[in-house]
Symmetry: C2
Subunit: 402 residues, 2 copies
């Protein structure tokens, strides 16, 4: 019997990349990923819901699932969108897929040719940024302030890119609790941005994975509720209100875009999990959302107070989101948070530096701190430890709190 | 507010296809898809297993899943492969993904450039055939007899294609209960085929989704057990021993091929379902496999006897698989089973004609009959009804049983 004698090296496809398999590692203080509170996952609620649905229609698991997911869950989503996001849509225009990562992937594949220009926020969710890059998109970040995208600067950017022969095709945005900054686009800016996208004939992808995670202030009107012309594709997820391990997300698109996006699917939607999630949310969606927001608020508060106590006077600034699971920290320009990451991880603090969120390649002096997973106490202690590590590494001219 | 005024038509990607969304339809007698017996799905067993695992480690659902799936399930698969398929492999070389459809997709993406030539069986599983075509492969079917691929004809085909400048890169085969024919490759042929693939430097994908569904005779040695040189990539599934709605399958590949295949993933493996499937199989995998084979055997027998009673004397022939969920029917040459499909469906009998299983474009006079979903009584009655419909449609020179 031969042993490792067959040389596959000239048989790999040109598109394949030999990338390291990312094995998730978790620091003692885990601020690296926008994970929910593990104690918040309704384990018993999901099991009970599943048992009840399996009793009613479990034999349907014998079928190969519909490419858009089970009708019950699509109807539940349609109802939720009407109540919470202010727009009416047929369940036929909703596709439930294996996580919002798959939703974004499918919409991206339906719209982007290699070389097409895409605009995203100046700092933007690393996962979607990587997906755009993987299909060969020319990704450009648009300037932001505390209220996210600045419409006038967006239009100036579009005009400059168009003049350069790089007319952008798509704007991807996370309007509510933008990941990673936590900022929210005011409704007036959304209207201005829609107007800009119409005039420049750009499709708009609205990723609303975090919209339910508000614990103060008012949810703004969704792009989709402001415009049903077909320009907006809406993406949502159950990862943030339930758990990422359920791998269920969805997108809402016009007929033809939906069909084209689904033409890139190569597997169906998990039916077992769909049954559990449908029935659980049917029973207690809003109680659960209230519950998790009640859990997250003290964590955000702990993060903010610990940042004040431990980074005050160092020239570091941070955002104060009114919801979500993360905030954005800007260290003094000379700090290289990318280099600090493995050092901090060793010391017990996991976070992601700004570099992976930066379409324009900057961001080494920034970091996203996800406070959703740990307890308020651990959020406080972990941020203090990060300041200690950074001070020891010579990141600050003035020691924290000095 | 604008209404459907935004024209997306010039924004779709070139690769996107406006295909109809396939909404699964089920005939009264459903022989169209290789679905398991709905009564065989261990609904209570899965719920109990899930509840027990969630109690132990449910909070891990808060994490984003490992791209290769949970370690427990990979270890269970490694143990099963050693016991049942005769080869030892590290769980690190196993990736659990969302169905064997995703497994095949990832391996295909890692190996195939547009235009690359691929050899499959003369009739082969329509799903994988469609996947190869989607990536632009030049797909060619190789001649089969009752024992599946004929090695000498395979080599002659490779030589002809190579002479034409279409040197094949990959052989995809379902060695055990080939879908759609139900045939099994004898071990001696497997050895000859491995020798041919080595000499012509072709990678071999062995799709073993059906290997557990044997109710008589002996399982042959898997390609992977005969050759650990790296030439063989092994694909498996839980859809056939549990249920398609669980969407869990896996592949076993050498380090670099595994990494390259996983580079095409855009979502993780369903963690909730992985926990349920792991614990259920850990508790009673082999009892369950025995149980389903006990259920399927009388269905196969009912199909064979009903074919004899209702298609005897019509010039129709069929295979007699020793396991699996399907058999292959060859009608007289002049019959167009593709045209008959919608007529039979209307009358209450669902099946798939051979056309969708044919890399070389033939197969209109053939059909796959999946007998796994219905009861033996319904298998018998449905086949009788199909003969009645075909006789009414003038498919036979001599009426069945006449």
């Amino acid at each position: 019997m031969a042993t490792k004698t067959f040389d596959l090296s000239d048989l790999y496809s040109e598109a394949s990349i030999d990338t390291e398999i990312r094995v998730p590692k978790h620091a003692k203080y885990d601020f690296a990923t926008a994970q929910p509170d593990p104690s918040s996952i309704p384990l018993k609620g999901l099991t009970d819901a599943l048992a009840s649905m399996l009793e009613k229609q479990g034999t349907d698991l014998a079928y190969y699932p519909d490419a858009r997911g089970i009708p019950e869950l699509r109807e539940l989503i349609a109802g939720k969108l009407e109540r919470d996001d202010g727009f009416k849509v047929s369940p036929d225009n909703i596709a439930v897929v294996n996580g919002s990562a798959e939703a974004n992937f499918l919409v991206i594949k339906a719209l982007i040719n290699p070389g097409d220009t895409v605009i995203m926020e100046h700092y933007v969710y690393s996962g979607t940024l990587a997906q755009f890059r993987k299909v060969g998109a020319d990704v450009v970040g648009t300037p932001m302030d505390d209220d996210s995208i600045i419409p006038e600067k967006l239009e100036a950017l579009i005009e400059r890119l168009t003049a350069e022969g790089r007319k952008p095709k798509v704007l991807y945005t996370i309007p509510e609790f933008q990941n990673p900054t936590g900022s929210t686009l005011p409704t007036e800016r959304r209207k201005a941005i829609l107007d800009i996208c119409h005039r420049h004939h750009m499709a708009l992808i609205e990723d609303e994975c975090y919209t339910d995670l508000r614990y103060e202030g008012e949810t703004q009107e969704s792009f989709r509720s402001l415009d049903d012309s077909g320009i907006v594709t809406y993406v949502g997820s159950f990862s943030k209100i339930l758990a990422p391990g359920l791998r269920l997300g969805y997108f809402v698109a016009d007929d033809e875009l939906l069909r084209r996006a689904l033409s890139f699917r190569h597997t169906g939607t998990n039916h077992l999990t769909s049954l559990a999630v449908y029935e659980y949310l049917n029973r207690e969606m809003y109680e659960h959302i209230d519950h998790i927001n009640g859990l997250n608020r003290p964590k955000r508060d702990a993060a903010l107070s610990s940042l004040g106590e431990n980074f005050g006077g160092t020239g570091t600034t941070w955002t104060s989101p009114k919801g979500s699971l993360y905030l954005w920290v800007t260290f003094p320009e000379h700090v290289n948070a990318t280099e600090l990451m493995p050092i901090a991880f060793e010391a017990g603090v996991g976070f992601n530096s700004g570099a992976s969120f930066a379409p324009n390649g900057d961001g080494d002096h920034c970091a996203r701190i996800c406070f959703g997973y740990e307890t308020p106490e651990k959020v406080r202690d972990g941020i203090a430890l990060l300041a200690e590590v950074m001070d020891r590494e010579g990141s600050f001219k003035v020691s924290p709190g000095a």
